[in-house]
């Protein structure tokens, strides 16, 4: 009931500092991958009783973009929010406890996987209504302007979310007021099981920005360095008061839209398509590059995995070991 009593402890992993270099980005991606895979592994035990939208395959977008941010910058995202939450430095224990519905969860168990936030590191909110959060993030940017702060907000949205009118309403306002917000599209080519071509006319996706006189760039969303390279100048631009940028990062979701499984069998995408993207795994590609450069060794990689594995085990233990919220508190916090 007491908020401070259940506040998550400071995160072990701070926001990935750009200065920490490519290895830090690799580590952050690997960590997200291993966390998501562990969720997938354990989901069938039916103890995580809330919908989960895994971002396996999309790690480079979250990590590359958040690496361009300061801790006091903010992000918002939607249903598929584990990766961005973690990349921005969100507390892993609080996330796992939330998914397990425990009182130590970031929402005290009230929100589940689709309502992650962590105020200490600028994860402002994720909300499950597609598009809804775009305006929230734009409002966050308005508050920075109001307070004369040089903070920036990244709105992570899907290729589906840009179809919602609220995207355009937010983009128009942000462009008009030159707000420090970045619309970062994680374009995985699908909205649930519907292909981009079946939802939008043929044109470069980045052209949506032209409606609002906003600069845009389309990049390989599986290349974390490219993501970082594209996001950094957009962040600088926003911080300098020059307004929003639209970034389209092409990537791919490996697992089913919602839930732990693969679903290439149900017929909305071809095994070939899936395989071609798996071959471009952001984590493996980056690992291979680092090895080729000599920045990473097999041993170091194994050590990383072990270290992260231990952290993950601890987080699941923390979640499972935490108490469920007291039913008597269910009525609290309706009004502030």
């Amino acid at each position: 009931m007491n908020i401070t009593a259940i506040a998550p402890k400071p995160p072990e992993t701070p926001v990935i500092a750009a200065s920490a270099g490519p290895l830090a980005l690799y580590r952050a991606m690997l960590r997200i991958r291993l966390i998501e895979e562990e969720i997938a592994n354990r989901y069938s035990a039916q103890e995580m009783r809330c919908p989960v939208h895994l971002s396996i395959g999309q790690e480079a977008t979250a990590v590359g973009a958040c690496a361009a941010l300061r801790t006091d910058d903010q992000i918002v995202s939607s249903h598929r929010s584990h990766g961005t939450y973690l990349a921005k430095g969100g507390d892993l224990n609080a996330m796992m406890a939330e998914i397990y519905g425990r009182e130590t969860g970031c929402c005290g168990g009230r929100g589940g996987s689709m309502h992650l936030f962590d105020d200490r590191v600028g994860v402002l909110a994720s909300v499950p209504i597609v598009g809804s959060f775009i305006a929230l993030g734009t409002g966050a940017a308005l508050s920075f302007r109001h307070a004369n702060q040089d903070r920036v907000c990244i709105v992570f949205l899907g290729d589906g979310a840009i179809e919602e009118g609220i995207f355009h309403e937010s983009a128009n306002f942000a462009a008009l007021k030159k707000l420090p917000v970045i619309f970062f599209i994680e374009n995985n080519g699908y909205s649930c099981y519907t292909n981009l071509e079946d939802r939008q006319p043929v044109r470069p996706l980045a052209d949506v920005a032209r409606a609002h006189g906003m600069p845009s760039v389309q990049i390989d969303g599986n290349d974390v360095m490219a993501v970082y390279a594209a996001t950094s100048p957009a962040v600088a631009r926003a911080r300098a008061g020059l307004g929003p940028t639209l970034i389209v990062a092409d990537t791919y979701r490996w697992r089913e839209h919602c839930g732990p499984n693969y679903d290439n069998d149900i017929g909305y995408r071809t095994p070939q398509e899936f395989e071609s993207w798996r071959a471009r795994c952001p984590v493996e590609t980056m690992g291979a590059n680092l090895m080729a450069q000599g920045t990473l060794t097999k041993t170091a990689q194994a050590e990383l995995a072990t270290e992260i594995g231990a952290e993950i085990d601890a987080a699941f233990q923390f979640a499972i070991g935490s108490a469920f919220p007291d039913p008597a508190t269910a009525r609290d916090h309706v009004y502030a």
């Binding site: 039916q46 809330c50 519905g101 929100g111 598009g131 519907t194 149900i266």
Partner: protein
């Protein structure tokens, strides 16, 4: 006579849609996911293969826009069925529904029509959380010009959906996700069930009970157990929230002098409030006990199952409330409660039955 066929309400909805589309080329099905492999929890399965993309129209994420598009198309003679996988998505389309769909016939002095059906699915359980679990029928019920239908059986799901599609007014058709699983005898073929008001499920003289949608199922269970204890509920499934036909309920309360309402949505400013008020306006002086309402409490749906446990009225709560209004002694109420609790708790509280394994 046909063989009795036992199908689920979800299957019944699919069947009704299929029949309506086969019979009338002006019927089109529109929604996010109507043509995808999951096919709206199976309720639109294979229809896109059968009727093609011109009639089963997969939509971009644009709830407000496509609702207006459906209304515009309906004004020119189409009969669109639009589907939202969660009630909440339709909140984006309130302006279209409240201002255009509900009023176009009236404001055009009868010249225009907006025969759309809006299928809204109420999420429940499996930690859906506050924005994926609401049952917001009261918002639509307040608006003259809309019809609001909430079936609780497979037969009604089919027959009332057919009637809704044939209706020349806009119909908000609210399906509780847990009602999709209900099995029942459903007659084959184009058999509509008129949108004509409450349906008496059980006759009795002790208390009038009015429930809707999924909570009708919990109330049926409660009423069964009450009957064993000698408390005979006169139980109505409301079915049509607007336009509200309260006459049979008033007639019943005149006999019983007692009234309990059970809402699937929030209790406050909810459906039960209108029913209680209508009844009281007509037979307040004949009441033998104060009326009683059940419904969701004054807070959003929490995700965690420990918090959600007490959120939804269940058969033991419903039985206890009815027994109390009937004036049953405390001991009898306690025993009813424990019988029903034992029964209800064989299934986890956040799923309708054991086959339900999330994440939806």
């Amino acid at each position: 006579m046909h063989e009795p066929r036992l199908i689920t309400a979800g299957e019944a909805i699919r069947e009704a849609t299929d029949l309506a589309m086969a019979a009338d080329p002006s019927v089109v099905l529109m929604g996010e996911g109507v043509a995808d492999p999951k096919a709206i929890f199976g309720t639109t399965a294979n229809l896109s293969q059968k009727y093609g993309p011109q009639r089963v129209i997969e939509l971009p994420l644009s709830e407000n826009g496509f609702t207006g598009i459906a209304i515009g198309a309906a004004m020119n003679g189409l009969r669109p069925i639009i589907v939202h996988q969660r009630v909440e998505f339709c909140l984006l389309a309130m302006e279209q529904l409240v201002n255009n769909a509900a009023k176009i016939h009236y404001v055009s002095n009868g010249a225009h029509r907006a025969p759309i059906v809006v299928r809204l699915i109420v999420g429940r359980g499996w930690g859906q959380g506050p924005a994926h679990s609401q049952s917001l029928e009261a918002l639509f019920a307040h608006i003259p010009g809309l019809k609001v239908v909430m079936p609780s059986s497979a037969a009604d799901a089919k027959g009332m959906l057919l009637a809704s599609i044939q209706d020349d007014s806009p119909v908000i058709f609210i399906e509780h996700r847990w009602v999709h699983y209900v099995k029942g005898h459903v007659p084959p073929g184009m058999q509509t069930v008129p949108l004509d008001g409450p349906h008496r499920l059980r006759e009795g003289d002790a208390v009038t009970v009015v429930s809707n949608s999924y909570l009708t199922l919990e109330t049926i269970r409660a009423a069964e157990e009450l009957a064993k204890e000698g408390i005979a509920a006169d139980h109505f499934d409301l079915r049509v929230i607007r336009p509200l036909n309260v006459a049979p309920i008033v007639e019943s309360v005149r006999r019983t002098g007692r009234l309990v309402t059970v809402d699937t949505g929030f209790m406050t400013y909810g459906i039960g409030a209108e029913i209680v008020s209508r009844v009281m306006e007509q037979c307040c002086m004949q009441m033998r006990a104060s009326p009683r309402r059940l419904g969701l409490p004054e807070y959003p749906t929490p995700s965690s199952r420990s918090l959600a446990a007490a959120y939804y009225p269940r058969s033991p709560d419903i039985a206890a409330a009815i027994a109390e209004v009937a004036g049953a002694p405390a001991a009898r109420i306690a025993s009813l409660r424990s019988t029903l609790s034992a029964d209800r708790e064989s299934v986890p509280l956040d799923i309708p039955h054991h086959s339900f394994q999330g994440p939806f």
